[in-house]
């Protein structure tokens, strides 16, 4: 056995009986090292490949949208309502605003309900039958096709009111947001260490306050991400809006009237036989994606600002 260059015996002792010096160049250890490094390299390459595989479609879609849609973007697109077929100009201003209105309704309804349900599951419902039922329902709801959400909102609101409305579209999207938000909120709250809750309770802070100011606050970056995911997902939904918000070729700001929405407008234009409308559909898709990205990024930046430095 050759001497180990990394090992120096303690003073006054030639060889420690407890420490058998390792020969790091022995055949076994060398082979093991080569194998370990090979596996390490292979897994690293796989991880990078997977990342690329995930990013490539995203970038490809975005670049293609830019290529197809950017040329049709002009001021009129953002300021004018749709023009009749054959007429020049026209835009999707009403659809952009309409999407904003419907999404605002969906967020106002869906986010509080989703977070509240998640708080119940994580903080109050541990081991209770009702919690298990809520969790199961949320998971099932997550898998329900979006058109079914549209039909539900249609039968619950539209058939009762006898007219399509921005509100019913918002409700349909809100129902879609709730399960995602509930489950992420629950999971994020579960990652908050129990010790932190005990710290608050030990100071004589009531449970509701602890949940609000300690658990939720600590978990807030994850919960915000969950809300943004849910928001981004429903922002591009067309199916739930088909027979709720219905679409509108004109300006409308009333919540109980049909309202235009970008995905709807894109849908109508994309299946039309006119080239001019096809180009507008591409432009609309580009605007939709950029709007979602901007919204998500803004919330991320805003949420990051409130965090303390050095917090783990």
């Amino acid at each position: 056995m050759s001497t180990n260059p990394l090992y120096t015996p303690p003073p006054g002792r030639d060889e420690s009986p407890l420490h058998i010096p390792l020969d790091i160049n022995s055949r076994y250890i060398r082979l093991n090292r080569v194998r370990r490094q090979a596996v390490n390299r292979a897994v690293t390459v796989l991880a990078i490949l997977s990342t690329v595989l995930v990013i490539v479609p995203l970038v490809a879609i975005f670049v293609y949208l830019l290529y197809m849609g950017a040329s049709s973007l002009n001021l009129a697109f953002f300021t004018k309502i749709p023009a009749p077929v054959g007429a020049e100009g026209g835009g999707m201003a009403n659809a952009i605003v309409g999407s904003g209105v419907v999404l605002a309704i969906a967020s106002v309804l869906g986010i509080p309900v989703g977070i509240a349900a998640g708080v119940y599951l994580a903080e109050f419902g541990r081991g209770k039958m009702l919690a298990a039922a809520v969790r199961f329902t949320a998971d099932v709801l997550n898998g329900v096709p979006s058109i079914v959400m549209g039909i539900s909102a249609y039968s619950l609101i539209v058939t009762v009111q006898h007219h399509f409305s921005a509100f019913s579209g918002g409700v349909a999207l809100a129902i879609m947001m709730v399960p995602t938000i509930t489950r992420t909120t629950e999971e994020m709250l579960a990652t908050v260490p129990h010790a932190i809750r005990e710290a608050a309770l030990g100071l004589g802070v009531p449970k509701w306050r602890t949940v609000l100011s300690v658990s939720l606050k600590t978990a807030s970056p994850g919960i915000i991400t969950g809300c943004m995911l849910a928001f981004a997902r429903v922002a591009g939904e067309t199916a739930p809006l088909l027979f709720t918000a219905f679409g509108n070729q004109f300006w409308s700001f009333k919540l109980n009237e049909p309202i235009a929405a970008l995905p709807l407008q894109i849908y109508v234009y994309a299946i039309s036989p006119y080239d001019e409308w096809h180009r507008l559909a591409w432009a609309g898709s580009l605007v939709l994606i950029v709007m979602i990205m901007v919204a998500v990024t803004l919330v991320r930046i805003y949420a990051a600002r409130g965090m303390m430095k050095g917090a783990s």
Partner: protein, 252 residues
């Protein structure tokens, strides 16, 4: 000023496990009392029963009389009120990760709706000084997160946080077991100073620590308090054979 605690026939359970069996003891005011014993003997459960933290676990329950001064904390008070008068320091430092040092220290006040800026400032300074941390953190009270401090500093911050709500009793559940020797000795010095104003109950695995900081020591074994006496007596001339075996290192 501290206030004494007297415990009569205290029993506690976790589910079906009878973790504390008929504990009777007087914890004198303005003294430090050490609780020693092997792991799982019920020391922690005992201190958690004193401020009703035990019952925050849904499967746990406790019965018996725990009197703080004249008040029976299980009959005459709400758990939330009790915990403001009986502060607690946990085994591992548990700062609020989203809060600055300042907010951590005054969290007990702030989370209970107290907002007076001037009083908060004073309380933070007084508590951090009492916890011997003021000099180390006074320059970045609001800049740094409580979680960015070292383990020993975090634990002293947690002690400051407990002191900030002005309790009469301070329960410490192995407050130095996760710390290095230097931080440990700082915490021990601190306990020594705090005794004049608070009644202190400290759970420890370290018998030298018990001998250094506490006037009285209780020995727990298998959910029972085997012996309670002055620290000197427990360590030099214990009455019970089991106590002697434990402190001489024959088991545990």
């Amino acid at each position: 000023m501290g206030v004494g605690i007297s415990v009569e026939h205290l029993n506690a359970w976790y589910g079906q496990t009878h973790t504390l069996q008929d504990i009777n003891v007087e914890l004198p005011a303005n003294h430090a009392t050490a609780l020693i014993g092997p792991s799982g003997c019920g020391k922690s459960t005992f201190v958690r029963c004193l401020n009703r933290m035990h019952e925050t676990n849904p499967i746990a329950r406790a019965e018996g009389v725990v009197k703080m001064g004249d008040m029976d904390i299980y009959k005459d008070a709400e758990p939330v009120q009790i915990r403001r008068r009986i502060g607690m320091v946990f085994q591992r430092p548990n700062p609020f990760p989203t809060m600055s040092i300042y907010d951590n220290v005054c969290s007990g006040l702030k989370l209970n709706g107290f907002r007076n800026r001037k009083v908060l400032d004073e309380t933070v300074e007084r508590s951090l000084k009492a916890a011997a941390l003021w000099e180390e953190v006074k320059d970045d009270l609001k800049k740094k997160s409580g979680a960015s401090l070292s383990g020993g500093q975090q634990q002293r911050m947690c002690i400051a946080r407990a002191l900030a709500v002005d309790p009469e009793v301070l329960l410490m559940d192995e407050p130095a077991s996760a710390l290095d020797p230097v931080s440990t000795s700082k915490i021990e010095d601190l306990i020594f100073q705090l005794k004049s104003q608070y009644t202190i109950v400290i759970v420890t695995h370290n018998m030298q620590q018990a001998a250094r900081v506490a006037e009285n020591t209780g020995f727990f074994l298998n959910g029972k308090m085997v012996e309670f006496d002055s620290t000197h007596k427990i360590f030099t001339n214990p009455k019970d054979k089991r106590t002697e075996d434990y402190i001489t290192g024959r088991f545990g």
